[in-house]
Symmetry: C2
Subunit: 189 residues, 2 copies
Amino acid sequence: MAQRQLVKDHIRQSILDAAADLLLTRGDSAIMADLANAAGIGRATLYRYFSTREELMSALSQAAIDDASARLEAADLEHVPVTEALARIFRAILACGAKFEFIRTEHEHLHLDKEDVDRRIGEPIRAVLRRGMEDGTLRSDLPLDVVSNLCGGLIIGAFRSLPFLENGVERVSAVATETLLKGLTAPSE
Amino acid sequence: MAQRQLVKDHIRQSILDAAADLLLTRGDSAIMADLANAAGIGRATLYRYFSTREELMSALSQAAIDDASARLEAADLEHVPVTEALARIFRAILACGAKFEFIRTEHEHLHLDKEDVDRRIGEPIRAVLRRGMEDGTLRSDLPLDVVSNLCGGLIIGAFRSLPFLENGVERVSAVATETLLKGLTAPSE
DNA sequence: CACTAGTGAGACTCTATCATCTCATTGAAA
DNA sequence: TTTCAATGAGATGATAGAGTCTCACTAGTG
């Protein structure tokens, strides 16, 4: 019967993955029936796993945050040079796939902890950027918020570039990291 | 009675502006009553201007595209160096304000002409990037789509940076342009 | 002043979607 | 083979939001 539980966990995970994908392409207009369908299960079954739409969304948000946060922690950002840390950040976030876009697009007008996102994802990234600004790797004549937003923009651009480069995450991360580093060195004038 | 018409035009414009703002912060969850409220008019009146939600959305999309497109045309991109053209692109898009974000966030799963957006906004921008890749201003070892997506990402980042810099559009455009130019020069290795 | 276009408030209908429930079927465990 | 937890299909109820309509009110217009 431990077997059964394993299967259920797996299904639960499949639902979340499918939901992230579908919500990425269809947005909030994807209804419960669609989500069940995308996960390859019946609507009634979907409700057995997540008793309300709200609950599904929350679980998805939480899973997305956990995923990204875990990858960032595993990247051990504090103990490597800023250049390497930035590369790891891009790799970590891009590896989250559709879940990343879910956080980005939904967390604005959603039921879930903006604070949590900021604390566990935003802050670690900002810490690296701050360090880069202090040690001269990045220009320091701009507010951290600006640097941070430009970095975020590059992450979005990198994510959308995934389909256009071989070697997906690896190559795109490298390109984006390079762009950020070269783009945000001290002003030329 | 030409007077009356002027007032109506003005109200119509106010509705569109208010809608762009509200949809930017609240997303699709903003209902017709909210939109009427944000525009400072009654719900019934809103329906007199736009007889369905769909119609309002379409008008908003169209207004946003027209706005951005007009600014890009006015920028006379083909007849200035790539560096200047890029600066003008950032200024033009950022000047659109909330309408820009509306295009970006809604056009994915919306009723409106992705083709139109691509033809009148995407293509002029890509033309500049293509030119930059050909004349050596930008690195040419990446697919245009990647360069284009990274540029788009920077636009998003720049938009979000607006609140953090004095002189808003001007200063942010300059920073973003510089970042793009320095970031996407020929690879260093 | 009288007239009319335009308005806001609010009652109303209709529909899509959420959520619940039942029941027959399936497939794994005993 | 028997048992039973889990499932899919589909009927059903509940509700939020779209869209319609009426009516009294207001502010420009002649």
